[in-house]
Amino acid sequence: MDPEKKPSPERGASEMDVAKVHGALLREKQEPCDGMAPIPLWLMTAILALAFWSGGYLFFYSGGFRGDVFNESQIAWGYAPTAPGKAKDPLAIGKRVYVANCASCHQVTGLGQPGTYPPLADSDYVNGPSSRLAAIVLNGITGPIKVHGVVYNNNMPAWKGLLKDDQIAAVLTYIRQEWGNKAGAVAPEGIAAKRAAWATRSTPLTEPEILAIPPEELPGTSSAAPSSDGTPPGKAATAAPVTPSR
């Protein structure tokens, strides 16, 4: 705001000084200064609109400003929308268990990984007798196993220490009815019985051992799956195959 200082006489220029000044400095424009154009009205309006939006956003998505609320839509200032009813559907639970524990090898598509992990879709082990399938999941597998004529040589861990009966039953039901599979639902009591029967087994099973298990359905297993036209379980009359055709 102060008036610009006048150049003092001692800094006055002489012809000698001129030679020392670089050309770029002589042709330079003045140091930058400010114009005084006003702030446009539309910008002010836009700022007000943004401020209004911000207030609304914070109101609705602040989670009540609590340190233990992580879902933005959970609480808006003391108003808690009721949580949606929890899925009791075994297929939904089974899907959750499957993606969390099985999908890293067998993939969400149920197709496995070629050459490494066998597919579950259209697999005779999955659609076949639930006694064998339950034994595999409870104890794990080691060594070669043939699925659809392809030999896979890998390890599957035992799940009996990690998953509960109802979780195993749900995931077996899920894999037996997903990707076009159409075998019966497995019940938790069947898994409980199998778990008791295999209680002392601490190493994974091998293919011959699995095939030596009597091919039977576990107690509580429904005989068939819903058919593709949407008939509920038990109405369709497809019998589960008894021996895996290898």
Partner: protein
Amino acid sequence: MNRGLTLFVGILATFTLAWAGLVLIPYLQFGRVTDYVSEETGQTLPPPMSGLAQRGHEVYAAEGCVYCHSQQVRGESQGSDLARGWGVRRTVARDYIGERPHFLGTMRTGPDLSNIGRRQSSVEWHHKHLYRPQSVSPGSVMPPFRFLYSLRKIVGEPSADALKLDGLDAPPPGWEVVPTPDAKALVAYLLSLDRSYPLPEAPTE
């Protein structure tokens, strides 16, 4: 604005406001949460990390795993992390109280590892994967960590730790590939990554 003081006070005030909002209040609000003892199982959650896993945490930092792998599972409204099976619930502040530094990550060149110990629990798989990722994940762009393994001549009995490698990776006859202590620690850390336990603020069902 020609007064240095006005400028200084404004610069200080805006900065302090943001510091209070984004650092101080979060620290007071959730920077001191403690672990939780489950009423159902009596377990301490999150489970404390073993010494070997702690060492593996340091290897994870040194090799920069965090630049390609996140360790956070977002809720259902943000992305498909749950549907992909990277976790059974979103992760919350309490899951990370034992970690210094944090490995939340910002990039998924590779998959999320929040629950990798649960999703892939085989020690052998992890060693094979670190030695040459493409041997178990064809098409992966993860670099090999062969420098965490040593190739050595078998003297007397073969080592119990030796990797069971075949095909391209098999060592010459009479030689074996064994993990260094760093590799073992890293695998122990990876296997310890399991954030599928329920917490009061993040139930699993």
